[in-house]
């Protein structure tokens, strides 16, 4: 059984105000190209199809085109919703589409759905698990004390009575972590506000392959059979060094799994440049690479700059973010660090001493100090 594993499409997303729709379209074209070349039996999308619960018009159109093309290529499509999607909205027409070999599982209704696809070795069962939170799981498995994500996931998996002797592929969208290592994370993944979303990878280790989504960097989780396909497009500057791809997995007899990463190239790359403004905007430097790449620029000039963003954008139209690194910023940082201690409450008397010194150039006499202290005390009392 050969199938293509992709996830985190985030159709319609903008990064720093720049719409990624064209990049996405370009990536999809490449994916369809791969499908035509490799002729897989199925394609699996592991969540975060859209970027928002209610996606924009352009996004919906793009996904519609993609889906139609996929269906035309006579490939079975299996799709689950991610934490960015609206489960119910993604579920729309799913029952009708199942007739056309498109299996969408948007909302979790207490029962883990599965689709069995045949190959020469028999059947491969694909389990579709959309993104669930403890609160959604609680509604179905409530009595059994579902508090954390771990509880939710294990409850859901247990309820499905999976026969692990057969070949099973899980399609899920969660944050799985192996016991020891820290996974590769990027800024553009969302963590739910106010909650820990990590799930132990132990729970899914018995699947022959777990087609996962959520992390935007393609990686395995502990073992090779648990994989994140990664996003097809770079969605934040923290991903700039990654190489984007889709995963092509092949499962023959039980235990015989191979996979390959099919690379995807963007229209414009995302990278970071650092230097002085004049240098960066000069001809030699700007010609070195694609000027229309999405850039994070770090300026190191010491002097004050007039309209740095304007000047940068005139050469590099797609500058996403601008940062400064110079002695002042370094001082700021230390100041804030040091400033914290210094900012402890100065007593009014000390404050006044300083003030007096500054205004009149000399310290107070003993008599003056006495007067000041006495009056400050009485003023403090009077104010209460």
């Amino acid at each position: 059984m050969k199938f293509l594993h992709l996830s985190d499409l985030h159709i319609g997303k903008s990064v720093n105000g720049f719409s990624m729709l064209e990049e996405q379209r370009h990536a999809f074209r490449q994916i369809l190209g791969y499908i035509e070349a490799e002729r897989p039996d199925a394609a699996v999308v592991a969540g975060d199809v859209y970027d928002r619960a209610v996606p924009g018009v352009e996004a919906v159109r793009l996904f519609d085109d993609f889906l139609t093309e996929l269906s035309g290529a006579s490939v079975s499509l299996l799709l689950v919703s991610g934490n960015h999607d609206s489960p119910e909205r993604l579920n729309y027409a799913s029952r009708l589409l199942s007739d056309k070999n498109i299996y969408i599982c948007g909302a979790f209704d207490g029962e883990l759905k599965s689709v069995a696809l045949p190959d020469e070795y028999g059947e491969v069962r694909f389990w579709l698990l959309p993104f669930i939170k403890p609160s959604s799981a609680r509604a179905f498995f409530g009595g059994r004390g579902v508090e954390s994500y771990d509880d939710a996931l294990s409850a859901a998996l247990q309820s499905a009575n999976i026969d692990y002797a057969a070949r099973n592929v899980l399609i899920a969208h969660q944050f799985f972590t192996p016991a020891r290592a820290q996974p590769l994370r990027s800024e553009s993944e969302l963590s739910p506000a106010g909650g820990i979303d990590a799930v132990s990878a132990e729970l899914i280790s018995r699947f022959d392959y777990a087609a996962l989504g959520h992390l935007h960097g393609a990686q395995s989780v502990g073992a090779d059979n648990l994989r994140y396909a990664g996003s097809p497009v770079k969605y934040s500057l923290s991903e700039r060094r990654q190489e984007k791809s889709v995963t092509l997995a092949e499962l023959r007899k039980k235990g015989d799994l191979t996979f390959a990463k099919l690379p995807l190239t963007p229209i414009h790359d995302m990278r970071e440049i650092k230097g002085e403004l004049d240098k960066l905007t000069s001809r030699e430097i700007s010609e070195l690479a694609d000027k229309e790449d999405y850039l994070r620029v770090i300026l190191t000039d010491e002097r004050e700059l007039a309209d740095p963003m304007g000047r940068l954008r005139s050469v590099y139209p797609n500058v996403m973010a601008l940062d400064f690194e110079n002695s002042r910023t370094r001082a700021d940082i230390s100041e804030t660090a040091g400033g914290r201690e210094q900012a402890e409450a100065l007593s009014p008397y000390d404050l006044f001493s300083e003030f007096f010194l500054e205004v009149s150039g000399a310290a107070m006499s003993a008599e003056q100090a006495e007067i000041a202290r006495e009056l400050l005390e009485s003023a403090a009392e009077a104010a209460e």
């Binding site: 619960a53 601008l322 006044f352 003056q368 007067i371 009077a382």
Partner: protein
Amino acid sequence: MKPLKLTMSAFGSYADAQTIDFAELGSGGLYLITGETGSGKTTIFDAISYALFGKASGRARDNYKMLRSDYASGRVKTSVSLDFAAGGAVYNITRAITPHIARKTGETTYTDSVALTLADKTTLDRDREVSAKISEIIGLDRDQFAQIVMLAQNDFLRFLQSGTDERVKILRRIFGTGSLKYFQETLKARSKEASDGLALCRRDFERGGVDPHRREEQFAEWDARIKQDKTALAEADKKLAELDERSEALAARTAVAKELSKKFEGLAATRAALFWHAARMGEMSRLEARRVRGETALRRVKPFADKAAEAENLFASARTELARAKAEAEAALAELAEAKLALSGLPSLDEKRTAFDALKREGEKAAETRGKLTALKTEYDDISAKRAALLTLQKELSDVTGVISGLPALSGEQAALEALKREREEAETLRDALSALNGDYEALITQQARLAALRSEFEKLNLEFSAAESGFNAAEEIFLRGQAGLLARALENGKPCPVCGSADHPAPACPADGSVTENELKKAREEARKARKRREDKSNECAVLRARLDTLRGRFLADLRGVIPGAAEEAGALIKSGLSAANARLAALTEKKADAEKKLSDLTEKWNEATQRRDALSQKRAELRAAAETRAKRFLADALEFIPSGEEGAAGERLAEALALAQAESGKLDARKRADETELARLEREHKATADRNAGAELKNQSARTLAAERERRETEQREKRAHSAEAFAEALRTHNFADEAEYENSLASEEELSAAAKRLSDYEKEGERLKADENRFARETAAQEKPDLEKLAAETEAVNGAKVETRGKRDEVRSRLERTERVYGELRQSAARYAELEKRYAAVKQLSDAANGRLDFETYAQTAYFERVLRAANLRLKAMSQNRYALLRKTDGGDARKRSGLELEVLDSYTGKARSANSLSGGESFLASLALALGLSDVVQRSAGGVRLDAMFIDEGFGSLDPDALELALRTLSDMAGSGRIIGIISHVAELGERVEKRLSVEKTPSGSKIRVI
């Protein structure tokens, strides 16, 4: 301060008690409050703010009448109860607004109450106590709270966009720099005090003529002067004392002398008085004599005189009365005579009466006649009217009869209708027959067609069958040949053939081209069999159908001939046209029948109506006629008197004439009767009056006579009495030696005169005695003494007094001068002492005050320092939320001191490298900046206020102005801030937040108030 549980009753949009258990939302992180507009989200924050401080969250929501729920009835109490934890202890504060409805006016007044329960279960319930305690527990007052912990809707921009003055106020409240300002002011006051003190001292010196620098010399001078004056004063006092002594002695002597002098004078006066007293003696004795005489006259003689006078009076009055009575008697007599005369002069009453009665009777008769005539006339008129009515009726009747005869005969119409009905029925029958026939025909045609179809099908199947059969045969042939071929292959010459047994095989079968397996053969056979079956089935079907078709045809022909005898089958085609014709005719006839029916019914109706009417009229006429006849007869009988027989025709006129006459007659008689009646009445009255007069006069006469007699008697009596009393009086005069009445009169004196005289006499005596006594006394007292010289003494006294006055004046002068000098001197000495001290003090304080109140004053300095700190803290967050783009700066331009004192805010946009005013930020950016500022403020307050820990924060709206990226960053910042120990509550209607934030409070509007649910 961390809220634990909030309960609201009849508050805002919550009618009944709603409880929020914050524990359900966890101990740290964000939670979202969602709900429709106006459902009551902000009200939750209001409730918390109100519970703690007695005021709602934003400025505009303060009036507690606005806080009361409209859903609650007028009597329900509004209350908010908040359990919260602070500094490790748990407290509860409950506030309530209770309505009181005045029974008479129906007006509602409100009272607030508050109760703060501390950790040890004690309760505070006085407003000021509670406020103070809350400030203590939480560490913030209401303004600080509103600025830092609770970012109310629309309020958060205040700090960001306000001007320096506003900001100064806010910072002052938050950081309590008010006391520093107070300190400044105090310094200024002290400085002024010192300066004033110095000025006063200087003025004192001036007034005293002291040159501050030559003080000591002048003081010494004054000392000397004072000493001098003191001595002078002592001397003067001594002198004054001496003079006083002398004057006292003189005064005593003078008094004694005065006394003695008076006594001498008294003696002289008394002696003179005695002399004059003696001179009056003669007068007094004369007076005595007169008195005695007068007494006698009064007491002894007067009574008799009085009596006599009285008797005289009585007699006189009796006489007058007698005369009067006599006169009256005469008058009465005269009157009586007159009355009698009048009575006889009246005419007789009875005659008049009789004449009147006769007249009355006549009048009655006339009236009777008139009545009779009137009745007759009415009757006559009536009858005539009835006759006229009868005529009209007759006319009507003839009209109706005419109408009836005009109507066509019913019977004819009816017959026509019948005929029509029959015709129609016939047509209907024909049509029905044709219709049935048509049906049959059509069925026949259909079946014929069907048969044809079946036949063709059969043909097809037949072909199929043949094909299959031949196929099978072919296959079989091949198979057999094949078999044969197989067999043939095994043939060996000499070995017998398994089929025929021959050992000779001249022509072994060749395997056929093509092979057919046994299976295939079986299949072909099966096919052929199936085809045959199908063909047979179809053939049967055809046969069945053909039989049915024959029956149908037979029936059809029979029916057809029934209708059209001798018709051939082909006539079937014509049936349709015949049928339509029949239908048409039937329809036409039906219509005609309907018309005729209607016409008939109309006619019948008309006929009935007319006949009825005619009958009614007939009857009426008969009745009327009968009635009229009877009455006419009676009338003639009654009127015979006036209408002789034979003159009936002219009955009307006769009657009228007679009636008129009778009326006139009756009228005349009535008039006469009335006149007579009045006359009679008058006469009767007159008679009566005269009779009365007579009777009266008689009585009067009687009484007058009686009275006269009486009076006479009295007169005689009185005369006698008079004589008696005169005598007695004369006797009395003689007894007491009065010569005549005249003397008596003269001597008569009244009582008062007598007593007055007696008193005068006694007074005279007494005076005489007194004077004698005085004389004796004075003579005794002044014996052997000399008269003193008063004048000399007086002169001496005056001299001494003069001396005294002079001395005193001098002394007073000296004394006042001394006092003044001493006083001034004392004051100046004091001033001098103070002056030195003040000089020193003033120098110190002035410097402090100048510094504190200079162009850069102390409070501003302090505030600027705090402000800087706040900005630093805010920028940390703002940088994070704006991806390092924005930073808040304090505006610094202008001169040196000014530079440090401004509190204007600017925003530095690192993309452009320029700073711009905070007001130029967009809505979303403003929100982020304000949020950063609030968080910064919160940080600084917590650090500087020591024990203040802010474990909760509330943000009301503002997120709607952020784009998704900014929203993300803001949420992340808040989430970080919340961490695990703080809960931050957000009110927002932004849908995305609902997806992003796990814990939610949903506020739902219902018709009976809002309800809160934790999701």
